[in-house]
């Protein structure tokens, strides 16, 4: 993972609540054995019409927002299936930040391992941000602030997530640094001989 302090880019607003990972990446695109090329299938059931052409009403197909790095979504983003293909697809498309009032646990866990920053904001900030489609927004990870026009919103960020983003730290390295403790744990764990 690359270290990152600031993310600056265009915001795309997708004001739908409870967007599930089946919408982010439908199951027909999970038939792969690598992680590549999922960006073109991102939100495919919403992004493309039945004949395969672009749905021009969909925010990521519009000229001002088709290269967005920041997705501002409705409540409870990323619910449902645990498929990590969802953050893979978002990142492959170019999205680096997802902002909502709540983000589902597994999706959030998956995102932070792929350099996709999940940001939770309160209802008032969210309402304001939902009006900022196509605006340039800057995320300062270090100071935990969203800068938008002349407004500034502070957000909470779990300290370890923040550390991993700022230092490009891989969570596996964190776990591997505990290998001695893991061995000790295994030696004292109860086993039932069968």
């Amino acid at each position: 993972m690359k270290a990152v302090r600031h993310i600056k880019g265009t915001a795309a607003v997708l004001a739908v609540d409870n967007i599930d990972t089946d919408q982010i990446i439908p199951a027909e695109h999970l038939k792969i054995t690598d992680k590549k090329g999922l960006g073109k299938h991102l939100f495919s059931n919403w992004r493309y019409l039945a004949d395969g052409s672009n749905n021009q009403d969909f925010v990521l197909n519009q000229a001002k927002t088709q290269a967005s790095k920041i997705l501002i979504a409705g409540d409870n983003f990323g619910c449902g299936s645990s498929r990590e293909h969802a953050p893979w697809a978002l990142v492959d498309f170019g999205i680096q930040v997802v902002i909502s009032t709540s983000i589902a646990d597994i999706f959030r866990n998956n995102s932070i391992k792929n350099g996709l920053l999940p940001i939770l904001v309160d209802k008032d900030s969210h309402n304001y941000l939902l009006e900022q489609n196509s605006r340039e927004i800057c995320i300062d990870i270090e100071s935990q602030k969203i800068l938008c026009k002349d407004r500034e919103f502070r957000f909470d960020l779990e300290p370890f997530t923040r550390f991993c983003f700022l230092n490009g730290m891989d969570q596996l390295d964190f776990l591997m640094s505990h290998s001695e403790k893991i061995t000790q744990f295994e030696s004292r764990q109860v086993r039932y001989a069968s």
Binding site: E28, K31, D75, N76, G80, N109, N110, F174
Partner: protein, 469 residues
């Protein structure tokens, strides 16, 4: 110090406690894998030159991409496509390379990962269990702490047998009283999801308890815990009891002899201490629960079948479904009925469905798939003659797998079709692009199959009871 059931299992698996700067390092006792969410994790091991730390704690099955048609005369399975076949073949190769027990196609133990774990006795009280599948919450029915993870964490578990975790909050759901005879565990969990909402348990581990939970058999408890994720919960748990131990005794992977007694003694300590509290408490009156059905595009959009679509329903969901506020779903014609999935494909689910199918024919024009959760379930059903009931009524009796729950293997519904399904998600396009899913219990699904339309099983059964009387 008083502890909840969750606290007890959590505390017993802490390799390194969480601090303000770092999450806890949580030890994983059992890692279940399947063909869809594991290939990239194996690739990570190879790229980084790592080994699989505990092959003996890792178990694999094939379920998502597998065909539910029988193999041909030569024993060849006909996959929906090359990509599905490649996933399955790659899992086999990976399991051989890393020394993992695999229940592959053709093995009498193969089936849906959340059906296979419990029936093999791999799932046990007090264990931590992960799988790259959100319905891993199912295993919590045994008093295990079990949750879904993504592929990165599948890789972490391969390499370290641990995952980084912040301690979740707890939510107690107490079910007072017992369910009416025509109401199933599926109706109960749908009603719970309506009550707390699709994101209502985000960040929480749910413990289900109370008289209404004690009264459920293990299959029913699994149905309840299975759908915990549909309320956003990290996991769902039920304290083990005699029913749990009776279910597990003698299964292949449980301790035997003196070790079995020792295990039961230990597992009997897995309950929430008197005076322990949850971060949130929800109380449900079982007698209030009616047969449920969904009308929208997530499991929270459910109603008792006897009621009409509520006024507050999101318009985009109604537009997708082609429904209106105040619409009655009773009498709605159905195209497809799917009885299966990790939610409702166990033997008691099939028995409940078969009871409705007996002596009846599937309504004209309705396509019905009955997909047992595993080969063990299939064998049991065939021994009881349930397969013949399904086949004679005109339903398709298929090979085990996830099948039409998410349609990865080609078992899909067509755009616009209405499917009454015993699965767990009615998300847009989940069962096939443009398809419309109505989640319900095996009984409700079976009635829809034979009537060709949505019916309220409680009304049918009440009528039947009156006629008999």
């Amino acid at each position: 110090m008083v502890k909840t059931l969750f606290d007890k299992v959590w505390d017993a698996h802490i390799v390194a406690p969480e601090t303000s700067e770092t999450p806890a390092v949580l030890y994983i006792d059992t890692h279940l894998i399947h063909e869809v969410t594991s290939p990239q994790a194996f690739a990570m091991l190879r790229e980084r030159g790592l080994t699989l730390r505990c092959p003996e704690k890792t178990f694999a099955t094939m379920d998502h991409s597998t065909p539910t048609s029988k193999p041909d005369d030569k024993g060849e399975y006909h996959f929906n496509g090359e990509r599905e076949k490649r996933q399955v073949e790659q899992l086999k190769t990976n399991c051989e390379t890393f020394g993992i027990q695999l229940f592959e196609l053709g093995d009498s133990r193969q089936g849906i990962v959340h059906v296979v774990g419990p029936e093999q006795g791999i799932t046990q009280p007090g264990k931590t269990i992960v799988c790259g599948d959100s319905h891993t919450s199912t295993h919590g029915a045994f008093g295990a702490l079990a949750f879904g993870i993504g592929t990165s964490e599948v890789g972490y578990t391969f390499a370290t047998q641990c995952i980084p975790q912040r301690k979740p909050k707890t939510m107690g759901i107490r079910v007072d009283g017992e369910l009416s005879e025509w109401v199933s565990a599926k109706d109960l969990i749908l009603a719970i999801i309506v009550k707390i909402g699709i994101g209502g348990a985000t960040g929480h581990v749910i413990e289900y308890f109370g008289e209404g939970i004690r009264a459920l058999n293990m299959d029913e408890r699994m149905t309840v815990c299975n759908m915990s994720i549909e309320a956003g919960a990290r996991a769902g748990m039920i304290a083990p009891d005699k029913k749990t131990f009776d279910y597990l005794e003698g299964r292949p992977y449980v301790p035997k002899g003196a070790a079995w007694q020792k295990a039961i003694d230990d597992w009997s300590q897995l309950y929430t201490d008197k005076n322990a509290t949850y971060d949130q408490l929800v109380v449900i009156n079982a007698a209030d629960i009616r047969p449920m059905i969904t009308y929208g595009t997530n499991p929270e959009m459910a109603i008792p079948i006897s009621q009409t679509i509520p006024a507050h329903s999101p318009q985009h969901a109604l537009d997708y479904m082609g429904f209106e506020v105040n619409q009655d779903l009773i009498g709605l014609p159905v195209d497809v009925v799917f009885i299966g999935s990790c939610t409702n494909s166990r033997i008691t689910d099939l028995r409940a469905a078969a009871k409705v199918f007996a002596q009846k024919q599937v309504a004209e024009g309705v396509r019905v798939l009955v997909v047992p959760g595993s080969h063990q379930v299939k064998q049991q059903a065939e021994m009881e003659g349930l397969d013949q009931i399904f086949i004679q009524s005109g339903a398709q009796w298929r090979e085990p797998g996830c099948s039409m729950c998410l349609g990865m293997n080609g078992d899909i519904i067509q755009p616009g079709e209405i499917c009454v399904s015993t699965s767990n998600r009615n998300f847009e396009g989940r069962q096939g692009k443009g398809g419309r899913t109505l989640l319900a219990s095996p009984q409700t699904a079976a009635y829809a199959a034979v009537e060709g339309k949505v019916v309220d099983p409680s009304a049918v059964m009440k009528k039947h009871t009156q006629e008999v009387a």
